[in-house]
Amino acid sequence: MKIHEFLSTPLASCERTGPHDGVVLSSRVRLARNLRAVPFPGRAKKIERVKSCELLRKGVEELPEMEGAFADSMEHLGAMDKQILVERHLISREHAAKSAGSGVVLSRDETLCVMINEEDHLRMQSLQPGLQLKKAWQSIDEVDSRLETKLDFAFSSELGYLTACPTNLGTGIRVSAMLHLPGLVLAEQINQIIQAVTKLGHAVRGLYGEGTEALGHVFQVSNQMTLGESEPDIVERIDKVLLQIIEHEMNARANMLQTKPKVLFNHIGRAYGILAHSHCITSKETMNLLSLMRLGVGQRMFPGVEKALLDELFIITQPAHLQKQFTEKLEADERDILRADMLRDRLKKVAGPVIPT
């Protein structure tokens, strides 16, 4: 089966709901594991990678959680299929660049995704909508416990799980959440939040765009330290931080509505106006405006509109998802025109914003 036939539609994937999903788009827990007897993928020869990939893939595919899963070698995935997996946040950009000797296994419900021979032999991730870090940790912990009975993982009682990069050493865990923080950005409080969170030893960064530019007001918070702290403690600590960020974001939104309603309505009204009426729009502008409209949905300015619609548009206006709908290869400016056409069409039935009462 081809990956685009396997994946749920963008809308279906956006309709999954979870706690606090007005702010937390998704939760993710990733574990890095390596085989004891084989060099790390970056050091292994191609023939070693091909062999270990087969062994690992077999082990992963045999998991009960992986019944009906999609599994393939990166060699057999086309450039566009790989890019679609990146845009769905299922594999890393680095992994998308891999070929023979690397693979991917994705569970039927798309909540478990294992990258084989990325930087480590196994990068196993559990994804959940909204804020559900504990659930994500439990499910990936189970997968790991099953795999360790079949695979000989590199582990030292002093240093824990041994990983290609020392930053992942110990637990090999990376706990993260994708956050939609338009309130904190508009209120210009985002930098304070970022500083506070980084002081606690966590990383915060814009998910799209480079440097300080955070397109779509989407940020990712993740733990930095993996050694010297247990997995449940790491999960617990970041969960607490996230709950605080959510509170700040909700306060910023409420405060803005109360003290500067015109500024807020202006942002959201203009966002709708451009998205619903433009004839040429870049991916960057689209992300920022969709973010503002999503904020508007949260403020009940678009009665009858679900935030899933905005989240879906966010995905399908990304380059590979957009390209996939057309047979000929599109140039960037052609994409901008087609993106605008699609947005106008999809927003035809969405009435303009109302002022919430």
């Binding site: 390596n34 990146v86 009682s157 290609a164 020392p166 998910l207 440097g211």
Partner: protein, 170 residues
């Protein structure tokens, strides 16, 4: 300014990140930033990259004093390789580079000893060796108390556990 990754192209992407109380700076060219997935959600490549680069520099400093180039006996990885990639070659590398890595791990992590999950097989080995220790203490006590009947029972139990442990090690 040249890209700190490839040392060839002009660096156009400048990143600063605060980790704990340390600031890390990395300057990358467009190509390396893309290749490293700087805007990458699933890879967390940025943190790895930043810390990885810092790590390799520290290892170099700490080994430069002795002059010699350390390499991993298992995979042949050298500190130059580590500097280039910010990654180690195999699980044995952690022993080969242990000395230089210790300081790196201290600045990078909360502690230098693993306190999390342990594979079940290892946990079982640990449990059995703990039981063995307890039994051996009991045995000593019963010998001192001249309770030879009890000591014989304990010796049998110890033998059984030792056998189980040697089977586990295989």
């Amino acid at each position: 300014m040249l890209c700190s990754q490839c040392n060839q192209n002009e660096a156009t992407v400048h990143l600063t990140e605060v980790v704990g109380d340390k600031m890390k700076k990395v300057d990358l060219c467009e190509t390396c930033a893309k290749a490293k997935g700087v805007s990458d959600p699933a890879g967390f490549a940025l943190a790895d990259l930043l810390l990885g680069l810092g790590a390799s520099q520290q290892v170099e400093q700490s080994t430069a004093a002795d002059g010699g180039q350390i390499s991993c006996p298992s995979c042949g990885f050298t500190q130059t390789d580590f500097k280039k990639t910010g990654r180690l070659g195999c699980s044995e590398c952690y022993q080969a580079f242990a000395e230089g890595l210790e300081g790196v791990l201290k600045t990078m992590h909360k502690g230098t000893r693993h306190v999390g999950k342990t594979p079940k097989a290892l946990r079982q080995v640990r449990d059995v060796s703990d039981q063995l220790k307890t039994l051996q203490k009991k045995l000593e006590k019963s010998i001192t108390a001249e309770d030879f009947e009890q000591a014989a029972v304990l010796r049998d139990e110890i033998k059984k556990l030792q056998k189980r442990l040697s089977e586990m090690a295989l």
